[in-house]
């Protein structure tokens, strides 16, 4: 036991190669029952986390841990994970391949969604919704069910206190229910 603790500490101090540390992989594997093996979700409302950029993942996980971000369950899960482990987990999942959701295209909805994306989202999320750097995560190929649950948080007043992004809230809170669903659908069908 003593030896192991030491090994963990050394590994954590070592930095970049952390993502391959078996201790980190063991933590990452506990995420799979909810987020899917390797962070690729098969569940319609659970976010895929594989391939999201490291900065985003790290920031979000830290905010969840500190309770600075509204979550239904993640805050309870992150409390026992150290900041160093969070950095390593972010690196681990960021290095995984993004696997897009499988969503059958519904033409009318998709066309409406494409327009909403162009008009309201693309400045920040990219023309195809696939910008994935800095504070912005990839949306193209994310599950529409999850996107819809997330954008709801920008509309409902219950969540204003811990709303994730002020600058996005300004832009999206006036969209209609239809527009929200359409853009979520369109994004979900992108690869």
């Amino acid at each position: 036991m003593q030896k192991l603790v030491l090994a963990v500490v050394c590994a954590l101090a070592a930095g970049p190669s952390l993502a391959n540390d078996p201790n980190i992989v063991a933590i990452a594997d506990t995420c799979n029952s909810c987020h899917g093996i390797n962070g690729v979700s098969a569940g319609l409302t659970m976010p895929s986390i594989a391939g999201q950029n490291k900065d985003y993942l790290q920031r979000v996980l830290l905010e969840q841990k500190k309770g600075e971000r509204y979550t239904t369950i993640m805050d309870r899960f992150m409390k026992n994970i150290s900041d160093e482990e969070i950095a390593a987990l972010a690196q681990y999942f960021a290095a995984k391949e993004w696997v897009p959701a499988t969503v059958a295209v519904e033409m009318t909805q998709a066309n409406q969604g494409r327009q909403v994306l162009r008009k309201t989202c693309q400045n920040c999320h990219g023309e195809k919704g696939d910008k994935n750097s800095g504070d912005v995560p990839r949306l193209a190929g994310q599950w529409p069910g999850y996107i819809r649950l997330e954008t709801f948080k920008y509309v409902d007043r219950t969540f204003t206190a811990k709303k994730p992004s002020e600058r996005m809230a300004e832009k999206v809170h006036n969209l209609t229910e239809n527009e929200h669903s359409a853009v979520a659908h369109f994004l979900g069908t992108r690869k």
């Binding site: 030896k3 201790n23 909810c34 239904t72 649950l149």
Partner: protein
Amino acid sequence: MMMNWNRRQFIGALGTTSLIAGFPGLVFGSAKARVVIVGGGFGGAIAARYLKLYAPGIEVTLLERNKQYISCPMSNEVLAGERNLDSLTFGYAAHAARGVNVVHDEVTAIDAVKKTVMTQGGKNFAYDYLVVAPGIDFDYGAIEGASPEMEKTMLHAWKAGEQTLQLKKQLEAMKNGGLVIITSPRRPYRCPPGPYERAAQMASYFKHHKPKSKVLILDHGDTMPKQALFEESWKQLYPGMIEWVPGNSGGKILRVDQKKRTLVTDMGEQTADIINFVPPQRAGAIAQMAGLTDQSGWCPIDPMTMESTIHKGIYVIGDAAVTNDIPKSAHAAASQAKVVVNAIVAVTSGKPVPKPQYTNACYTVVGPDYGFSIVGIFQPEGGKLVSVKGAGGLSPVGAPAYVRKAEAEYGYSWLKNITTEAFL
């Protein structure tokens, strides 16, 4: 000291093994180890999956009596007519395709000394590591007058399948204004929130089809898990339809009269149109036969590795194991499977065993668009698996409808992802 989680012990085990005739070439660091898994439920199936993921060279044999696995999680929704059993039914083709030797047979004996497993079909399987994940068995003997025969008139439906469908039929046939009794058994049992979730799902069905009907829960325990959340949700969704009698108020079943179809408690004789008798439980029968259980009826393990403290080289995971603060759930079984796989993979490839990560998450769905959850993080401490203070916890009481809906949806996604992890 409880610290037998180290390489020396594994090396020791392998060292001896490699000297035994019939085990040529097996040395420390060998990636060709043979792992046999007894039971292809959430625990066993996920262990097989991760062994193939992390150590494809290891020979994995999965012994499971049934060709199909039916998930208990979300099976209470079948009772409400919210889903059918097909949506919870899985096979083992994906395991076979990944190179797991899947054998459908009943394991009848385990020889911990010779390191072999025997089946009803007359086959023997030699192993270097054995993972035992047989789930639960019913302990009818614990209650006077109870016996397996009572399943003809009082279903348990605590192993999802035929009985789930029969119970649903009974609900459909029952008159409006009828009464259902659900018993919540001696602790520990599989899925602590299960009986209360079931009561809610039955009430959900009644609400729409026979609104004068009621559910009575006779509880062995004095408290229920997620109590405030259940009570809040019952009041909101099914006012006056669910009554709960805790053990200290006369809920405990003292005796069963099968002829009269009654349950005797401190409150006297109880009967109902439908009695859903969830029996007391213990580790799956094969664990008893193999001598892996203690007086409690469950299998004691070393919390660092899930290795049996009775028979070395045998790992017991899932419902069958003594896991102290960790509830008996599919999610917990999955996390235990990974602990064991990490240990086996590390040892067979000559690397240190990573720190064990024990977690639980359990989503409860009490009706359409209404879910909540509990999370637990656990660690070995003083020879036990204990809850890490300050981590985990429950969904908040008084949450807005959106949150309950989101949690129900996340619950379905959890089911999709954990069944994919286990079977697809």
